[in-house]
Symmetry: C2
Subunit: 515 residues, 2 copies
């Protein structure tokens, strides 16, 4: 069994990695996050004008890690927004990053683009399409780190924060949204920018947060660009097998033989693994850094390879084609295992000149904030049967998840909470005459897109997707190598956001003149 | 100083009191609540069809207190919806009341009218206009008690729940809204009524909750009738002196001489109280049950008399006219104190054949859940200067409130939280193209109306008010004695709600037929 660990949601733009991550650095980061690393792509720019500091704002040490124009601060955030026990009043330092380079200033009602941080340090998310937006609209850039990630640790450190379910307990999406609401409100006040429209931008889990921030706090956020946000992958809204069906289709569309090879490989791994010295053979064939002690670990790792290849099947890498080309391109006499091993080596998790393949560990980790979130409310029931994908059966098992979460974290999942708190069922009926100004963007090659909003809900709550792109692609900076369909997607998003800002400023001037 | 205690917000329909409260019972209830007692008015009806019980639903003992057709149940509610600490998973029994008499059943998509309980036991709110709505639209009636009121006590009892800031800490409006969201969702599921539209109805604080429930949970609540909900009486949105300016205007409009007498009375009380035996004289003049030990207590009590006279200046009692008639109707030679004493005796808090007047205690009470709420988030900055009303100066003093709340409850108010969480500033701009299906109803004689929404925000977020009515009047049942303007107000509300339900059902059938 693959276990319960779901592939992480983060955006990740390998084509435009910022902060000069080398490909040597990529593998450990990917393994660390299982999939992740968020949309990062930096161009160096001159120093920004300085932020008017207040008592609760102090520059952090991390400023040294940021490119020019970006400055990090700490905000003194309340630990629990929704109850009034004495310990709820405790505070922690929440990191946020400004870039003032493009801002027209408060008097011009120039927009504030808020990047809603997700399940990784905010420093990984600096730059990207949001900078293009700021440049285009004379916007202020404000990146906010999610509590329990990066430097934004309640109780002062990760060691303290991740200690047990009592210290972890304050990590929830509603608390994170309230953090953003509180911080944005105070920042606007400090900048005398109360009249500036705020546009939230986020990808993946951060995209969910961006859309929910608009839905729950319309008085704080004027509009939201929610990229690759699978807000409908909860409860029974999206078929459980959706994710793996898309992965399968991505591979099958590229190459029927590649698809067939992968589909046949699982039984072959089982067969070889069951014979004497079979695990040794498998370890050799797949060049594992440590000897395999089960076929399941290998199968889990290969499944991950195909999942992330599909999830990040974006140009210019197009990982599905890379993996399939390797599988299909082996000499004719190569057996099934040799073919999939070649696929592994050509994948995002393999190759790169390394002598061996590290096999991922899929156990839930009580040192992972994201694993905590999947054990509490981010219960996405992803699974599938034995015949509907190119994988072996992997049903979603809530009871098993519950037992594991109780064992690892001492916490019981609340699988229906997200739809109770944020909705999702019948979204077109519910939001058709309620809500406005949200873009749900997707690339249909992204397996998570199946849980996204792919249909316009109204004139202003719209779906903007491409058939060709995958996870979070539109959040990467404009690049000369962008294909036309990607340029078109981004241009469309810009036109919509332009309309929001114009409408906001028109309403504002109407209010001011009393007309 | 009047202290910090704000007049409670509850609805109270003395004209149509249900559950056969005698007028003898009224005074103690009023004094107990300072002002309160919620919209209650019962007609006895036959037993309802029984609710399909689930594990989490058991009939409570309180069923014996309810009129026929109304049946109370308990729902096992989670203590803290927004964090995942072990103690958050504790549960308590939340009371709710059904009336199935009018319901068309789940297959007809007949509406569910949810009464969003406020700061009093739900049993006091049974019946009222909501029953007329149910009767009119074949609706199911569902009254939900607010946590920490009535029988819905976390930790099992009031003694335990009100113990300290740790046990009180789970009392907040956001938790209450999540309670309603969770309970409604489960109840609909249990009744197989997922397709039925839900209309929230509430008055005063309960009206705020009804409107916020629609704003935050549009996937659960289709529309909201928010009667006398001063959602704009937070931060600096509404002028602090608004409440007392309306009280003053109510009195002055009725009678200039009455207004003048009251205005002059404060200094006269101070003058008499300052001379030897003056307090004894005042005790005699105002027939106090206990000797006065300060003029402040008397002035606070009289201020309360005028406040609630204005707040409940509804027909047929029209308390302002009763009090002013008494003040103006005293023999010509009566001095100022004699006149205002006559006003007191004719008021809702005086007379009734009682031999003496109990003088209210305005200290914050650590046994009051509402006082806790005013010490945490329900910080309505009500106060005024020395010359803008008929009262002596009574500025709002946040520092003083903070000190007192810390002393009484060990808690520090968060005065800006409500607008951060729910908005309020620039409401027309913010919600003009966001949100739908809310009626904000008011009577302009109600001092709280000044903090209400008195202007249409959009086609479907509308203000429906009367010049003549006061607090929550439209939530009382239709009565043959209703003045035309009140009938017109209720009829308008019915037409709007009819439109919501029709639109909902039309969308539903569109979805079902896939058109």
């Amino acid at each position: 069994m693959f276990g319960f660990k779901l592939i992480k949601l983060n955006c990740f733009h390998s084509s435009k990695m910022g902060l000069q991550f080398s490909s040597q650095l990529l593998l450990p980061i990917l393994l660390l996050l299982l999939v992740t690393a968020t949309c990062v792509s930096a161009t160096y720019r001159p120093m920004p004008m300085r932020f008017h500091r207040t008592k609760s704002v102090t520059k952090t040490d991390s400023v040294v890690d940021l490119p020019p124009d970006f400055v990090a601060y700490n905000y003194t955030q309340i630990l629990d927004h929704f109850n009034y026990k004495p310990e709820s009043y405790a505070t922690f330092q929440q990191k946020y990053v400004f870039n003032f380079k493009y801002w027209g200033g408060p008097n011009t009602s120039s927009p504030i683009f808020v990047y809603t941080g997700a399940e990784s340090p905010i420093i990984w998310d600096i730059d990207g399409f949001i900078v293009d937006l700021a440049s285009r609209f004379n916007g202020l850039l404000l990146y906010i780190e999610h509590r329990y990630y990066g430097d934004s640790m309640p109780f002062g450190s990760e060691d303290e924060a991740f200690q047990n379910s009592s210290t972890f307990g304050y990590l929830s999406s509603t608390q994170a949204l309230a953090d953003y609401a509180q911080l944005i409100t105070d920042v606007k006040k400090n900048l005398s920018a109360e009249n500036c429209p705020v546009i939230a931008v986020g990808g993946s889990y951060g995209g969910m947060l961006a859309s929910w921030l608009r839905l729950k706090y319309p008085h704080i956020v004027t509009g939201a660009l929610a990229s690759s946000a699978p807000i409908l992958y909860f409860d029974d809204i999206t078929p459980q097998n959706g994710y793996h069906v898309v992965v399968t289709n991505d591979f099958r569309e590229y190459s029927e033989s590649c698809y067939n090879t992968i589909k046949q490989s699982w039984n072959e791994i089982d067969r070889v693994g069951a014979i004497a010295n079979g695990l040794q053979d498998l370890s050799r064939i797949f060049s594992t850094c440590s000897p395999l002690d089960s076929t399941q670990k290998l199968k889990d790792h290969l499944r991950l390879v195909y999942m992330i290849s599909a999830q990040y099947d974006n140009p210019p890498e197009n990982w599905v084609s890379k993996v399939c080309s390797a599988i299909d391109g082996t000499p004719q006499e190569t057996d099934i295992l040799g073919r999939v091993a070649a696929g592994l080596n050509a994948s995002l998790l393999g190759g790169g000149g390394r002598p061996c393949n590290y096999i991922s560990d899929f156990k839930l980790n009580n040192n992972s904030a994201w694993d905590w979130q999947t054990c509490t409310e981010m219960v996405m029931p992803i699974g599938h049967g034995g015949n509907d994908t190119m994988f072996q059966a992997w049903p979603f098992d809530l009871n098993n998840l519950t037992r594991t979460c109780q064992a690892v974290f001492g916490v019981t999942p609340r699988p229906h909470w997200i739809t109770t708190e944020f909705g999702g069922h019948d979204i077109k009926s519910v939001l058709g005459k309620f809500a406005s100004n949200i873009i749900f963007s997707n690339g249909l090659r992204d397996p998570y897109s199946v849980g996204g909003v792919l249909q316009d809900i109204s004139d202003t709550v719209v779906a903007v997707y491409t058939n060709e792109g995958a996870h979070c692609l539109d959040l990467s900076s404009y690049s000369p190598s962008d294909p036309d369909w990607l340029v078109a997607q981004k241009d469309k998003e810009i036109r919509i956001i332009q309309f929001w800002i114009a409408e906001y400023n028109a309403r504002l001037s109407t209010t001011k003149t009393g007309t």
